[in-house]
């Protein structure tokens, strides 16, 4: 009883706080602060048409590195958290097959989904989207595959290699930024121009980084899914 009262009190108070925030909110009419700078110089400094990507992969790339790390971290933790004992590992559970439609449709769709995912992260600096989105799309393909065929197993080694290599490469490119550019994770390297604005090969290393991110994210999410699926075996 007291509990419910307290909860009600809490929610009401949050309402009060938010109301105050809302009252102190005047809609913006033009860009201010760093946003203005990005809008004005984003194209020239970074060369990415998609300013969000410019912010994510260039200006605030250090955050993005953190994001990658978080996904990577989660995957790592889950992989030893949900680790199976050996006999569980070798246990084989035969799930009953799923519907014909799903199987057939997935066979048609999965390649397209992968393709789309790849497209999304390759063009991350031009169109809406980017590494994370693309990676997520790829992973969704993996989900579909698992659903269509519950008994399939994902090749763990491949995932790990993709994961590690792409991660390491991102870091290496970051370090290159120190050597050839203005600092860690600088996407504009000397002797590696911005390229023609608006084309795929533009915006310095952004497409590369984003593609790697995409692969890495895709791999990591699939990895997590894989673990979830496997952990069904745990007795």
């Amino acid at each position: 009883m007291l509990r419910n009262f307290l909860i009600a009190l809490v929610l009401a108070s949050f309402g009060f706080i938010f109301l105050n925030l809302y009252n102190s909110y005047e809609p913006k009419t033009e860009l201010t602060g760093i946003a203005a700078h990005y809008a004005e110089n984003g194209a020239s400094e970074v060369g990415a048409a998609n300013l969000v990507t410019a912010v994510v992969v260039s200006y605030r790339s250090f955050d993005t590195l953190g994001e990658i790390t978080i996904l990577f971290l989660t995957a790592a933790i889950i992989s030893f958290f949900l680790k199976l004992s050996n006999e569980d590992e070798n246990k084989v559970i035969i799930h009953k097959g799923t519907s014909e439609i799903l199987k057939t449709a997935s066979q048609l769709l999965i390649p397209l989904i992968f393709l789309f995912g790849v497209y999304v992260f390759i063009n991350g600096h031009l169109t809406p989207g980017g590494g994370f989105q693309g990676g997520a799309i790829i992973a969704s393909g993996v989900v579909l595959a698992i659903m269509a065929n519950p008994n399939m197993t994902i090749n763990h080694t491949v995932i790990v290699w993709v994961e590690s290599l792409s991660g390491v490469t991102v870091v290496i490119i970051g370090v290159l930024g120190i050597i050839l550019g203005g600092g860690f994770l600088d996407s504009t390297l000397d002797g590696y121009g911005l390229g023609e604005f608006g084309t795929v090969f533009s915006a310095g290393t952004i497409p590369v980084i984003y593609s790697l991110v995409g692969l890495k994210v895709g791999a990591e999410i699939s990895n997590i899914l894989n673990k979830y699926q496997k952990s069904q075996k745990e007795s």
Partner: protein, 126 residues
């Protein structure tokens, strides 16, 4: 009353979602539901973030023909604030990480006691 503009609507709905999220977190007994409430909470916050970046009558911060037409070559007057969107992107990813880990925990907890009632998990106390 005058029509609310999009930013305010987004803000209000965001706050609403946040409160709903908090309600679920504090009231629900089922761990899965609590985790869901967290995602609602995050969604609310993300919505608030985007809403705060919104500027009336402007387009997405992607420099293409639409921007060109909108404010002849003057990007700064054409687009909404890109920063909140970038932050939201990050926030979403973090949210994803946290949620997946929470779910893993939920599995383990269920394996431990064959229940998802959060009241059952108070081994350490006082």
């Amino acid at each position: 009353m005058e029509t609310l503009e999009l930013g305010k609507i987004g803000l209000l709905i965001g706050f609403l979602l946040v409160i709903v999220g908090f309600w679920g977190i504090l009231q629900q007994k089922n761990i899965i539901k609590i985790i869901v409430s967290f995602t609602i909470l995050n969604t609310g916050i993300n919505l608030v973030m985007v809403a705060l970046g919104y500027i009336k009558g402007r387009t997405a911060p992607i420099i293409d023909d639409s921007v060109e037409q909108l404010a002849n070559h003057n990007v700064i007057n054409a687009i909404v604030d890109p920063v909140p969107q970038a932050l939201v992107l990050t926030a979403i990813v973090i949210g994803f990480g946290v949620t997946s880990l929470l779910l893993a925990y939920a599995m383990k907890l269920f394996r431990a006691k064959k229940t998802l009632e959060i009241n059952q998990f108070n081994d350490l106390k006082w």
